[in-house]
């Protein structure tokens, strides 16, 4: 500093060097009582800068130098602390930018200004960029007070930025750490055993019975908690003020049953995402720890938004460019691109059908499809290329055989019967065709997702190759036809 008496940030704050952010803030708060921002702006600014730098040091310096042992020694550290630490260390490389962001605001140097500008320009956070901006910063450091302090800062910036880059922990690690965190969070909740007597007084028996069936439906065989607790919870949601129930009921009640069933949880990180966020519900509404815990289990949709946020640093839901997601009802989330690549022509019809029918129901509702009705076997072969084209082939040859029998048999009943069977086959395809297509697409997507990891682009390419199957589909179709034809011939021979 320019003052004759050089003070370290710790001296300025009046504390020992520490990595406890809370302690730094406390020291700052204490000093702030004597140095009022409106009365002594200059001292305030130095105090604030000292605070910012101390927090920055606590976050980056300590973590990498000392914190590895200390972590075990101090299990009672505030949870927020632990979380931020985990994030710093365990987020893999896609979070470089975030770390840079952190570095930027904690130290107010030209380097960081330059860094920020670089970030704003959207340049990749590569080493080259960093060196470049450091030069730029170095060129006009002259006006920043305190050369020695400046040096320390440069050093810190370098470390703060480089270290996260070198730490390339595998993705599983990250999942694990997140999951631990959630378990802790849930444990905190379960320690406080829910006060059931409080609820009992509030429950109206009639309402209780009314919701009984719904709870039955929602619970499934995998309940995590006592069924009665669920009933009480749902009852309370209904009793809560309008905006709560309006907000909660639809999404929560529908999602609860499915999200809680372990069997439906595909991977641990998805579950973690869902559990990651605990709603805070105010005492005013009479919600207890348990209610909050229950409420904290989110619908798929909500957790996906958050996951997206974490991954891309923005909350735009961009399903098309990241992994396959599941919608609020556990159904793979299909995007316009999926439809486009899988189906080629007329994809918008199916996308629209999917959109409208997934909006509120768990099941895809049947929707009438004229091409499916008219060309049913051919249409099936054209649209469903996930093995179904073989079925279509069978269906096709079966229809021909029946038709042949009906036409050649001399009885009117046989003719009618044959026509009826064909007609009903056509009607069935007409009714369920679209559903079949979308389900096939979803299944295909899920298979792709469960298989080897692919980028979204590769996935789309793969989808296109399956969806518009070409010769392979034709082959399957013919095999199906031949197979059923063979069987039919055999049966015919055997009987006659």
């Amino acid at each position: 500093m320019e003052n004759e008496t050089y003070q370290t940030v710790w001296e300025r704050l009046g504390i020992e060097k520490t990595d406890d952010e809370r302690a730094i803030k406390r020291a700052y708060a204490k000093q702030l009582k004597t140095i009022r921002p409106d009365e002594d702006p200059q001292h305030f600014q130095t105090l604030r800068e000292a605070r910012d730098e101390a927090i920055y040091l606590a976050k980056y310096d300590f973590d990498y130098e000392y914190d590895w042992e200390e972590e075990d020694d101090d299990p009672d550290a505030p949870r927020s602390e632990a979380t931020s630490h985990e994030e710093d260390v365990s987020q893999p490389s896609d979070n470089q930018c975030d770390n840079l962001e952190t570095a930027k605001t904690t130290v107010d140097t030209p380097i960081n200004n330059a860094l920020e500008r670089a970030l704003e320009k959207g340049e990749p956070c590569s080493d080259e960029t960093y060196v470049l901006t450091l030069d730029e910063g170095g060129a006009d450091t002259s006006h920043v007070a305190g050369q020695s302090a400046e040096l320390v800062r440069d050093d810190e910036v370098t470390r703060g930025i480089n270290d996260p880059l070198t730490l390339e922990e595998p993705l599983e690690e990250k999942d694990q750490s997140l999951s631990d965190d959630i378990d802790t969070a849930l444990d905190i909740g379960s320690d406080a055993s829910p006060d059931i007597s409080f609820y009992d007084t509030d429950i109206d028996d009639v309402t209780y019975e009314q919701i009984d069936d719904e709870v039955e439906n929602l619970m499934g065989p995998w309940s995590l908690w006592d069924r009665n607790e669920w009933k009480r919870f749902i009852n309370r949601v209904r009793e809560a003020s309008f905006d709560i129930s309006n907000y909660a009921e639809y999404e929560i009640l529908r999602a609860l049953g499915e999200n809680l069933t372990e069997g439906k949880i595909e991977s641990s990180y998805k579950r973690d995402a869902r559990l990651n966020i605990l709603y805070y519900l105010d005492e005013e509404y009479g919600w207890t720890q348990n209610d909050r815990r229950v409420y904290g289990i989110l619908s798929h949709e909500q957790s996906e938004i958050l996951m997206d946020y974490l991954r891309h640093g923005e909350s735009g839901v961009s399903h098309g460019t990241s992994e396959t997601y599941y919608d609020a009802f556990g159904f793979p989330l299909l995007t316009a691109e999926h439809f486009k690549d899988y189906l080629g022509k007329n994809d918008s019809v199916y996308e629209k059908y999917y959109q409208t029918s997934r909006e509120d129901g768990r099941e895809l509702k049947p929707s009438w499809c004229w091409p499916g009705f008219i060309f049913s076997p051919l249409w099936l072969a054209h649209r469903c290329n996930d093995g179904l084209e073989a079925l279509a082939g069978m269906f096709y040859i079966l229809a021909l055989i029946i038709l042949h029998y009906g036409l050649t048999a001399p009885s009117l009943i046989a003719t009618l019967l044959a026509s009826l069977i064909i007609l009903s086959l056509h009607v069935l395809v007409g009714i369920y065709g679209r559903k079949l297509v979308v389900t096939t697409l979803a299944n295909t997507l899920q298979d792709l997702h469960n298989g080897e990891p692919l980028s979204e682009e590769e996935k789309l390419k793969k989808l296109a190759s399956i969806g518009r199957g070409g010769f392979k589909a034709l082959f399957d179709f013919i095999v199906g036809m031949a197979g059923i034809g063979l069987i039919a011939t055999l049966i015919y021979r055997l009987i006659l």
């Binding site: 700052y28 702030l32 921002p37 702006p41 600014q45 604030r48 805070y280 105010d282 909350s315």
Partner: protein, 567 residues
């Protein structure tokens, strides 16, 4: 001497003060805390403010004006009335009327003269808009002690008692402005971490959306409607909007001019229409979170402030974004005013607030324009104080000459986040002389000091000669001092409608509106009601005026309930 806190809102304004039991709101003559920010001229040429003026928006559109906060800081003049008795007002003056009425309410309530105030402004109000607000205070005879950012005020009111230690986000969606602030409270320190906002986004935009849709649905052209019909449509849209907050479908039927508007509106449809507005709401939230170097899950609470935050659609969106159920303990309309009162308490170092320290941020970037590459025509902004820096703050940077024998350095001072100077707000400029030398040899040290009240001081020092040029950007009013004085005198001459008659004025204005909206027999009935009531008022001997007024009010209530069948 009490300093009052004032929330000068787009739709409603409130006044408050710090009492020993904490912040208190001051009711107006109508016993309501909310005074609509509407100004009108009545038939006698007096100025009507608040509820009475609001009621006259439909009946006397050319004599009444609302929403003028949106034009604060501009030169947009409004003409009220026509012919000889017409007035021309700047937005500052219109605001001044509202402030005058609030001041009168406070004086009545506190029993003493009130001359100082802290006024809340949207955090994202720029320097010019802030100055306009200070000028409005001056025009109303109030010394504006300081301005406080609305979300900061809300945070103060909320954070003071409600939380011990937490990081929370204030979502302030008012009638015309949108602000987001992130506040960190610990050890009695209330630290604003970041503020962001959109000055031209508010509940009224959602209403306007409905208006547009109604216009398309019923095939009328809003612009071709008379001013009074236009206001009727606005009112209808407002009602539909409010109704949609409470239920899934709002049905409406209204007679507007020749047209009969009838139909129903689905909430889903409204939400779909509002998608782009909702997207705009996200931008400041994301920016604030990023600026505070937080992640959404670090936000422990989200506090909803402002009338428009009542909408379930908005609440749901916020809930999804933060994965938290948004809170709104205090009446969202009142929390900002309460916070302004807390600020007056802090300002005067009230004993009960001795230990509390609040630090705010400068919500936008301040900088100057300079050349940073070889292309000398390519001016860009060089930020000196970055947005969301804690205030008070003082930062400096060096700039050098770019031409040989250059003798003067011009510094334009800008506010804003854009790279190109022309996309930002020019606050002013400074010139400093330097000795002629080779390019880059001579330079200046530019120091920006931003104080706690939002005043910027720029100090430029020539490096070689140590010559200093200083400029304070406070009170560099949009109106010059003389002009301000002149306007103040002119405004003082204008009579406000007597405060004690406010209630009657409201009722009559309301009755006149109902008259305008109704037809045939109902009109006759309303007219007779009005005339009777006026008779009762002028008849000084009538001691039962209160009862008459109550009856009158009840009749109007019944009439109105039958008119807009919203169910």
């Amino acid at each position: 001497m009490t300093i009052v806190g004032i929330d000068l809102g787009t739709t409603n304004s409130l006044v408050s003060y710090w009492s020993d039991d904490g912040p208190k709101l001051i009711p107006n003559a109508l016993k309501s805390f909310l005074t609509p920010s509407v100004v009108g001229v009545d038939d006698q040429g007096d100025i009507l403010i608040g509820e009475a003026a609001k009621e006259r928006l439909i009946t006397h559109p050319h004599l009444t004006i609302a929403d003028f906060k949106r034009t604060m800081g501009s030169d947009k003049q409004v003409t009220l009335g026509d012919g000889a008795s017409s007035y021309q007002f700047r937005p500052e003056e219109l605001s001044a009327f509202v402030l005058r009425s609030l001041k009168a309410d406070a004086e009545q309530h506190l029993g003493e003269e009130v001359t100082e105030a802290i006024i809340s402004v949207p955090a994202y109000f720029n320097d010019i808009q802030r100055k306009a607000t200070i000028d409005a205070g001056k025009l109303a005879g109030l010394k504006v002690e300081s301005l406080i950012n609305e979300p900061t005020a809300a945070a103060l009111a909320y954070g003071l008692n409600e939380v011990e230690e937490s990081q929370f986000l204030i979502f302030d969606l008012g009638g015309g402005t949108f602000d987001v602030s992130i506040l960190d409270k610990y050890d009695n320190v209330m630290e604003v971490r970041a503020t962001a906002g959109d000055n031209f986004l508010g509940g009224n935009d959602f209403r306007d959306l409905l208006v547009e849709t109604l216009a398309t649905d019923h095939e009328f052209d809003l612009e071709s409607l008379s001013a009074s019909d236009k206001n009727k449509v606005l009112r209808l849209a407002e009602l539909v909007k409010k109704d949609l907050s409470a239920r899934e479908v709002a049905t409406y039927s209204a007679q507007i001019g020749e047209m009969k508007l009838e139909g129903s509106f689905q909430r889903d449809r409204f939400e779909e229409l509002a998608n782009s507005l909702r997207r705009r709401l996200r931008v400041p939230m994301e920016r604030a979170i990023n600026d505070a170097t937080l992640r959404p899950e670090n936000i422990e609470n989200v506090v909803m402030v402002g009338g428009a935050s009542r909408s379930p659609m908005i609440r749901r969106m916020v809930g999804r974004l933060f994965q938290k159920l948004p809170l709104s303990h205090l009446n969202p309309d009142e929390i900002v005013a309460l916070g302004a009162a807390v600020q007056t308490g802090l300002k005067t170092r009230n004993e009960s607030l001795e230990d509390v320290v609040m630090t705010d941020v400068c919500p936008y970037t301040l900088g100057t324009s300079a050349v940073v590459d070889d292309n000398y025509d390519n001016l860009v902004i060089v930020p000196i104080i970055e947005r969301n820096a804690v205030v008070p703050i003082s930062e400096s940077q060096h700039f050098f000459t770019i031409r040989d024998k250059q003798t003067q350095i011009n510094l334009d001072i800008y506010q804003g986040e854009n790279m190109r100077p022309e996309d930002n707000i020019l606050l002013g400029d400074l010139k400093v002389e330097v000795p002629a030398a080779a390019a880059g040899k001579e330079g200046v040290d530019v120091r920006f000091t931003y104080d706690i009240n939002g005043a910027l001081e720029v100090e430029v020092k020539a490096l070689s000669t140590e010559k200093v040029v200083r400029k304070i950007f406070k009170n560099q009013a949009n109106l010059s001092d003389e002009e301000l004085e002149k306007r103040f005198k002119a405004l003082s001459g204008i009579k406000l409608h007597p405060r004690e008659h406010a209630e009657n004025a409201v009722l009559i204005a309301k009755a006149e509106r109902i008259y305008a909206e109704s037809l045939k027999a109902q009109r006759d009935y309303v007219r007779s009601l009005i005339l009777d009531f006026e008779q009762a008022i002028t008849d000084q001997s009538n001691r039962e005026l209160d009862k008459v007024r109550e009856r009158f009010s009840e009749s109007l209530e019944t009439l109105e309930n039958n008119m807009f069948d919203m169910d």
